[in-house]
Symmetry: none
Subunit: 235 residues, 4 copies
DNA sequence: TATGAATGAGGGTTCATTCAT
DNA sequence: CATGAATGAACCCTCATTCAT
């Protein structure tokens, strides 16, 4: 909006965040943001942990918020890449769904409550300016599941009367809420059993409407077949 | 842990903030928080809308964050009371679930994206100090649904192999995500059709394991088994 | 332009800068700005001299630049008021011009090179935002001389073929340059003789074009008259 | 006073900056300073326009301020050279004055408000350190006019009772003020008519005291006196 | 000569919060 | 109760400038 385009950011380009320095900063920033949360984190502390000056941080990242967004982006990127790679190799919607759910929960649980809280919380605290960016990041992140949904809908594995988007929101929303409860409730948490239960429930929720009907039809055919046999044997 | 004497200073009780002034402040605060979000809202603006001084605000509320929490509490309180009253009168789990879902979506949609974003976002931005409070508020808010879950589990309307808490997280998590998508995507949004779709899907997800499809499957297995035996014996 | 209107400045109103505090701040600010110049002056120092915090300064003035503008405004205001009062009472354009010149030089010399440099320099360093304000201030300041010009042009005391604005620029521009030379050259400087010389030169520069012609005409009339008398007496 | 070894580091001499690189930098710097003003211009932008690094700029110029001074110096240098060359060839003070005025106005108007504002504004924003330098530059720049004044005073073309310096300040000060008004007022501006009016007025202001009008006045006084005597004796 | 990278050194500004009246 | 006034405390960010290569 009213942003000065600035001379052109001092840093190379927003694309290739590969330099060693950049990675170091990202890493330190992730730690601090995870520990303190965005608002309470200070650029001073991030710089301090790196043993550099704040100015160096700002050489590579335009603002504290941008830095935080990049931390999130990097986090999502990793899993996104994995999902993009693995999910298409999996056979069947049910297994795909299960895989996606397990990955999401596993990563967020394993990396500690800090980063988990950051991902859950800052995904919602977006300064307008980065609103579009976070939407993109999440779109990419959820694209594997969306593709799986699409394929499943086509093959008749899941119902076709509900927007994919709604199902996606159910899956991710549920997990977020579960993780949030976990973080704040401190209850013991079994990833595996949660994965199983969620998969099962969503499998049923998303099942084609005519599944029972189809099953019934097949059953009838089988029974009819059997009856014919009985008839034959009993005659 | 050396916690501050905390949240009650000179206020009557944690529950019912009554005075006219208190209500005015809450109202102004809600407007401002809804418009700007917590961080960008200022106590100065809240006071200014009331035509009083910031000091007055602090006479009634200990801190900006506390004020915000009270705004949220008030918001939840209203619906909580309604749910507590209405839900028990409804017959059947399915209808109860539907009612809860509709109320949640309806309120958040109708009151505008501002308060909606506030509820969704600030519910996650908790300063440790208020962490417990928000958990309480939400517990109270979700208690109607939890009670319905419990009753349904007892009566066999829903499956008994999944923690209620997990189902609750699914329901509320899904709705939060859906609302968030709505707020940021700006897509047209039909409360009624969403309610129907969600109710239906959750109904299926939560259905007892021995419902038609499952029962049928098991029955079919039995029959098939019997047929095999007959086959063998009859040949 | 793109300024946040802000909730409404915390300070009473831009008009009545009368409060004691305001005057104190203005005074301290003038000292610091005069000593260091705008850029090198710091709000910290201004606050420190007052024995208050910087925040207090910002309670009354929106920004460092605004504070500086107000210092300038106050400076101009004082003399403007004096000129508005005195000039109209003076008879004749020449005396008025002389008065205006003397006041300008006198004030700027007497108040020291600091404030003088500030007035001369910062009158030219305007952040767009205050561009209009400084123009207003200066318009007001020069209005006495402009009025005198207008009256003189009407009465035929000065030429009518030159825009008043041009003459005004000549008078003030000359003085600014003279003062600048004085400040940087450090040459001894006699206000009185400079006033006399300037007045005299401008008087001639601005004199009606037909002054010589008129004088000549009158002189011819007088001589002719004398000649007639001589004729009469010598006959 | 412990002055820094100052302005010449590794540069050939204070006078002639020759290298191609130097010229490129000066050119880019002039553009940026003209567009943004000194304070808002950044060395980063200057370097960026050149396609080099900031460090390169600092290889050739000791500081941002020095660079700016060199830009100004170069600007003045060009016209100074022209004036030095042309003015002595012109016959008569009036024509010389007119020439000088026209050149000054013409250059500043033609090169755009950016460089004009820079010259007018930064000529006044001197960091002590460069105070002497700018004085030198301006002395050189005004030397043609000063020489013309001196010659004119010698030949009796202009009055001898006023310091040349004062007259110089009047001429340049007037023009600066006029240009400033033009830049900020945005009024249409005719160089030629302004040149004519200024020349005419200054011509009159600087005219010898015994020029026609004065001489006439004195002569008239004498004649009148004589006439009175005649009157008395002839009655 | 050229420069990529790093940074020292503030600087202005913001607000929630306090307290005497 | 209400509040005007004051401020502590930080924070993000900028940029000219340096220096090893």
């Amino acid at each position: 909006m009213g942003k000065k385009p600035a001379i052109q950011d001092r840093r190379s380009s927003l694309g290739a965040r590969s330099g060693r320095r950049v990675q170091e900063i990202l890493s330190a920033a992730r730690d601090v943001f995870a520990e303190k949360g965005f608002e309470k984190a200070t650029t001073a502390e991030i710089a301090q942990r790196l043993g550099t000056s704040e100015a160096t941080v700002f050489t590579y990242f335009g603002s504290k918020r941008e830095l935080c967004m990049e931390v999130l982006r990097a986090w999502y990127y990793e899993i996104s890449a994995e999902l993009d790679r693995e999910v298409p190799l999996i056979e069947g919607f049910r297994a795909r769904l299960r895989f996606v759910i397990r990955e999401h929960l596993k990563h967020l649980i394993e990396e500690g409550t800090g980063i988990c809280a950051l991902v859950l919380s800052e995904g919602r605290n977006v300064d307008e300016e980065f609103s579009e960016l976070i939407v993109d990041i999440k779109r990419r992140y959820t694209s594997s599941l969306m593709a799986a949904f699409a394929a499943a809908q086509k093959s008749g594995e899941i119902r076709g009367d509900v927007p994919l988007r709604l199902m996606r929101d159910m899956v991710y929303g549920s997990m977020e809420h579960i993780l949030w409860s976990y973080i704040h409730g401190g209850r013991p948490f079994s990833v595996e059993s949660t994965v199983s239960q969620l998969s099962d429930m969503f499998w049923k929720a998303f099942a084609p409407l005519d599944q029972p009907a189809e099953a019934l039809a097949q059953f009838r055919a089988e029974v009819a077949d059997a009856l014919r046999k009985l008839d034959r044997s009993g005659s």
